[in-house]
């Protein structure tokens, strides 16, 4: 139970970071984000991404633009805001620290 909880917590934190990373590469459509997350095995079902994206957007990290689609109605493409970029930079830093922490914890004899 505790292990499960920890896993969930870790995934949750990393998921948010990864989403920002993916979007930072340029404007991207939600289902493409999902595809990337799936290939990274971070996400199982699409439904969980939408609340996350909405939340990040409302916190000012993301914004979206409508892009005409060849098939069907226009699609929402997400981009990082300046604030988002700043926070991503902070997260990069945090990740490095965490990574170091883990490395250190693992390799110390």
């Amino acid at each position: 139970m505790i292990a499960e909880n920890t896993q969930t917590q870790m995934r949750k934190g990393i998921l948010e970071y990864c989403v920002l990373l993916i979007i930072s590469k340029g404007q991207i459509y939600a289902s493409d984000i999902i595809a990337e997350l799936k290939s990274a095995k971070l996400l199982v079902v699409e439904g969980t991404l939408y609340p996350l994206l909405t939340r990040l957007k409302n916190n000012g990290l993301l914004s979206y633009i409508w892009v005409e689609s060849t098939s069907g109605p226009p699609r929402k493409y997400y981009v990082l805001t300046d604030e988002g970029k700043t926070i991503l930079g902070q997260l990069d830093h945090t990740w490095l620290e965490l990574s170091n922490a883990i490395e250190t914890s693992k390799n110390k004899p």
Binding site: V45, T48, Y50, T54, G72
Partner: protein
Amino acid sequence: MKKTLNINIGNSIVHIEEDAYEMLTVYLNEVKQHFARNADDFEIVTDIENRIAEMFAEMLNEQQKQVVGIFDVQSVIKQMGSVKDFETTEEGIPVDVPPIMPVYQAIKKLYRDTDQAAIAGVCAGLGHYLDVDIRWIRLVALFTVLLGGSGVLAYIILWIMIPKAETKTEKMNMRGQETTLRGFASIQLEPFVAQSKGFLAEFFEVIGNFIGGTGRIIFKIIAIFIIVTASFGLISLFIALVAFLGIWDADVNNYFPFSIINQEYFNTLAVSSFLVAGIPLLALILFSVRVAFSNRDVNKTLSFVLLIIWLGGVAPLIFYITRISSEFKEGAEFTQLTELKVYPEYTFTVDRTRFFSKEDSLSYQIDAANYKGRKILTDLDDEFKAPRSIRLWIEKSTNGKASLTQNFKSRGRNFETALKNAQGIHYDFQQKEALINFNPMVHLIRNVRWRGQEVELTVRIPVGTRLNISKELNRYLNGNNYWDCDHGSQEGFTEWIMTEEGIKCRHEVMNPENN
């Protein structure tokens, strides 16, 4: 073949099969419920809907088809994730907010279960609804059918009233299952192909198809027949009403069934009788026309109005019938004795011709000054005009004299009116020497209503007096089996003699060795 619906999801039009639509609706409702706790629920759900619409478009494009089926919806749900999946990897929802329990309740509704039907699925549906094994319901139903057949009527009424469970949601409601995806999952296990319904269900389906198809023509012919007959009846009733109202004061009210009715009640009774008999006929015509030819539902307001009018006819009818029957409460009678001249042999006959009395002239509306010497011919078999209310006894005289006692009886609201009604009897007989003519009928004086008036005649003759009785009188005679004595020498007469033991067949007394 399946029913399809057009839905607008994510601003695009999608053709979707009915069961798939139901599943999708349930899924989206669950999703909405789930995100209702979230401040941005509308945006999230819109995003999800848009994405679903896109997935549908992709699937239809890939599979080269036009309609979204239930398997497509299933795969969309799998890809999008169910609410359960959301819960395990939930984002952004404070943990301390207690999760809202889904408002779905297992709503149980009464439907006919045609999948398990023996006839139309009424018993199966009741079984689901009452949570009782169908076999018990069927047993009870069979019992009521055997017990006076009331079950048949009840079954037909329920068949008409209870809707058939056609869609998956209806079937789930019928079983009291939750209309959630879990409920769907359990019903998915059942094959989509219609189950074998059993012989009886198929038999009734065949009959149903027959009624629906070729039977409709027969049905229409029957309907036309009903309409024509009922119309004819209605027209006859109307003519009768007009006739009764029009010829009031004429002879009709002196004839038997009408002579019961008080003059002042007559018009009201005629109109209300017309309503009571006519409204159902009218309703029959209207409903037959509606059901057979217009396929429309029977208008409720119309039915209601007809019912009110009908009750408006029933009320006075009951009122006056009660009033009239109360006039039969008390009885009264009076007696009148007439001495007969003594002869050794009498002949009793029924006189169908008779002279007019003063009362007759009034009764038949003939000039009172001019009635003498006229004859009227009464028809012995015309019992329509008056019930046969004459009874005749022949008894032994104890004082050597011959006499005829007339006892006039009647009923009325009280003794006084009963006596008055008895006095309203007009009855006579004539003695012409040894020949006594009895009038075959009792007449009521004008304006006296029929209140069970009777005349009891008792003839007393001394012992040894011989009698020849016309066979026409047999029907009035009481106290002896007058039909058994048939040895008379005169055609149409039976021959009798008065003895100490009462009246005897003369043939038996003269030839005792024959017995």
